[in-house]
């Protein structure tokens, strides 16, 4: 065996080792959460690396709590509404920003970009006031409203990027056919932008589903909480007696749908993330 051969074998082994380490690093915590959630509470405090029991009592505990079910319901309502609003407003704005040249366009783009960089705490007190004025405190409505601050900018940004990629001649053909901007947008562009809208919608859904600070601040009672807040606030008798089993079960429950979505739509998500970032 030549030295070269040895070297290439060593390189191959090294590469696969690296891949293995990275994959392990990426998925181990989630895997460990599943392992923990499937343990009966009696075995919880013995560290084990494998699923050695299939005990669903933690899941039963979590799912029999009405507040957790309410949290899931709230999260679904909030996330879906946010996606819908962001897509609707984002699509019309993206048409304007992506396909029309007018004075002030750059300014609007800069505003949108600027808002996406707002720290959430910076608007916390003002937003609290707005929400209370609109009588939306401690209700999903307040969260839906407040979440547009971070979903709308990137929705607009990504959809604008995709909107720009549609051929000019298509829109001109529509103009020659007598289509108004609204008709062009809804009848010609929207059907072509389904993939982009799916991507953006997915990103908005994930962002809304995962949001914590506003949800923590703008809700008060257990029945109005969203999933992240509910999980963060699960508590036992004291700081040192957190019910880790149910917490892990709840974590797995709210994460599995996301992981499935991400794995299925990974290509879409990557294209959305890069589309949003290239112009940034």
């Amino acid at each position: 065996m030549t030295l070269r051969r040895l070297k290439s074998i060593a390189l191959t082994i090294g590469f696969w080792l690296l891949v293995g380490v990275l994959v392990l690093y990426a998925i181990f915590p989630f895997y460990y959460a599943i392992v923990t959630s499937l343990k009966p509470s009696s075995q919880l405090f013995e560290v084990s690396y494998w699923v050695d029991s299939l005990d669903f009592s933690n899941y039963v505990t979590v799912l029999s709590q009405p507040t957790f079910l309410a949290a899931i319901r709230n999260s679904v309502i909030v996330a879906l509404s946010v996606v819908l609003i962001a897509l609707l407003l984002g699509l019309t704005a993206a048409w304007a920003l992506g396909r029309v040249r007018f004075r002030g366009r750059t300014t609007v783009m800069m505003i949108v970009l600027g808002v996406s960089m707002f720290p959430q705490v910076a608007v916390l007190s003002g937003l609290f006031e707005v929400i209370r004025t609109l009588d939306l405190y401690n209700s999903p409505g307040g969260l839906i409203l407040s979440y547009t601050i971070f979903t709308l900018p990137f929705t607009v940004w990504i959809l604008t990027t995709f909107m720009r990629q549609l051929p000019d001649e298509l829109e001109e053909a529509a103009i020659v056919d007598g289509a108004s901007p609204w008709v062009t947008l809804t009848k010609v562009f929207m059907p072509l932008l389904w993939p982009a809208m799916a991507t953006t919608g997915l990103l908005a859904f994930i962002a809304a589903w995962n949001e914590f600070l506003f949800a923590l601040t703008f809700t008060l009672t257990d029945s109005q909480r969203t999933v992240p807040v509910a999980i963060a606030l699960i508590s036992g008798g004291s700081q040192y007696e957190l019910p880790w089993g149910p917490i892990m079960a709840a974590s797995v429950i709210v994460t599995v749908p996301l992981v499935v979505l991400v794995v299925i739509f990974q290509r879409r998500i990557v294209s959305g993330l890069t589309a949003g970032a290239v112009k940034g």
């Binding site: 690296l18 994959v23 990426a26 915590p29 989630f30 460990y32 923990t36 919880l44 560290v47 407003l89 984002g90 019309t92 704005a93 048409w95 304007a96 920003l97 029309v100 007018f102 609007v108 505003i111 949108v112 707002f118 720290p119 959430q120 705490v121 910076a122 608007v123 916390l124 007190s125 003002g126 937003l127 609290f128 006031e129 707005v130 209370r132 409203l145 547009t148 601050i149 709308l152 900018p153 108004s180 901007p181 994930i206 589903w209 995962n210 914590f212 600070l213 601040t217 999980i231 892990m248 974590s251 994460t255 992981v259 794995v263 990974q266 993330l273 890069t274 970032a277 290239v278 940034g280």
Partner: protein, 335 residues
């Protein structure tokens, strides 16, 4: 009419070389502001932008202005309306010693913590992100699966990942302590999230774990757009791969990496949830966002908290402006 006679167009062009206005000719109609199609489109554009602009004004513009206002008042959560103007007292006031945020050591610690957190975690994410991207860019069986696996940390809600790591880092029953002790790297369990000297590192570790995929994906997208011919040229010239990476690859992916880094940096500067869930309001990991929220919500001191929020906003705005300025200079004008 004979052909050789110049056409109408030629005559007029000949009489009016270069399109200069000739006083003997009738004045041209005034310049028009585009066709009706164009004007209609511009009007539609503003109409279509209106809902978004109203939305942004309602949830971003107005609240931000209110925050600025509250920061110069003595507002409290229970009496937002009855706030009195108190000038810059929330920021700094001299009254038998200095008071106000700028005189609060905890604020300065949270500024330092935030910067430290941002710098360390974003640097680690950039390095790790490039490594992951290089691996994902190689051709091997199961690449799609590995890429999907890399996306998992990104998809998990921050609160959930913080909880999972909190459990793994648990001082008594955590798997990390167990593992490290089995390997003989430590001899007694560490209290990762409670020990002031360790908790910042714990937080950074979780953030790096969660955010590296984002950086990796952006870099990967850039890598996949690289022209393959310069690699082939380098290969033909027999240049060492490491050299190729630093001389060819890295400069070409730098723009994408910079974008990823600025996105991450802005996120890191306003970090809240990871830290809140892992270490709550502990001083050793307190960031500006945590500090401001504590004042606003827990101490109900909206004036003081708003002043902290305003300072945070200013810092982030400064970073953004510097970035935009540098980016514009580097790329020679934006979109």
């Amino acid at each position: 009419m004979a052909t050789r006679q110049p056409t109408l167009a030629q005559t007029s062009a000949a009489q009016n070389p270069g399109g200069a206005v000739d006083a003997t000719q009738p004045a041209r109609p005034r310049r028009e502001r585009g066709t009706r199609v164009r004007r209609r489109r511009v009007r539609a554009a503003w109409l279509f932008l209106t809902p978004m602009l109203i939305g942004l004004a309602l949830v971003a513009g107005w609240p931000l202005a209110r925050t600025f206002w509250f920061s110069v008042t003595d507002a409290s959560l229970s009496s937002l309306e009855g706030a009195n103007f108190i000038g810059l007292e929330n920021y700094l006031v001299h009254d038998n010693g200095w008071y106000g945020i700028l005189a609060d050591p905890l604020w300065w610690q949270s500024v330092w913590n935030t910067l430290y957190f941002a710098l360390v975690s974003v640097s680690l994410e950039a390095v790790l992100g490039v490594i992951v991207a290089l691996v994902l860019n190689a051709h091997f069986r199961g690449r799609t699966l590995v890429r999907a696996a890399m996306l998992i940390p990104w998809a998990i809600p921050t609160v959930v990942s913080a909880k999972i790591w909190a459990w793994m880092l648990n001082d008594q029953f955590g798997i990390i302590n167990h593992l490290l002790m089995t390997l003989g790297l430590i001899d007694a369990p560490r209290s990762w999230t409670a020990d002031a000297s360790l908790s910042m590192w714990a937080v950074i570790m979780v953030d790096v774990w969660k955010a590296t995929p984002f950086v990796a994906l952006l870099v990967l997208a850039a890598l996949q757009m690289l022209p393959s011919d310069c690699y082939e040229a380098a290969k033909v010239d027999g240049i060492h791969p490491v050299r190729v990476f630093f001389r060819v690859t890295l400069p070409l992916i730098t723009p994408a990496l910079l974008v990823a880094v600025i996105f991450r940096a802005l996120d890191a500067l306003r970090v809240f949830d990871v830290i809140y869930v892992l270490t709550s309001n502990a001083a050793s990991t307190m960031t500006m966002s945590i500090y401001a929220r504590q004042q606003l919500v827990e101490f109900q001191d909206v004036g003081y908290g708003s002043a902290a929020s305003t300072l945070l906003f200013m810092i982030i705005a400064l970073v953004t402006v510097v970035y935009l300025y540098l980016g514009r200079r580097q790329l020679g004008g934006g979109s």
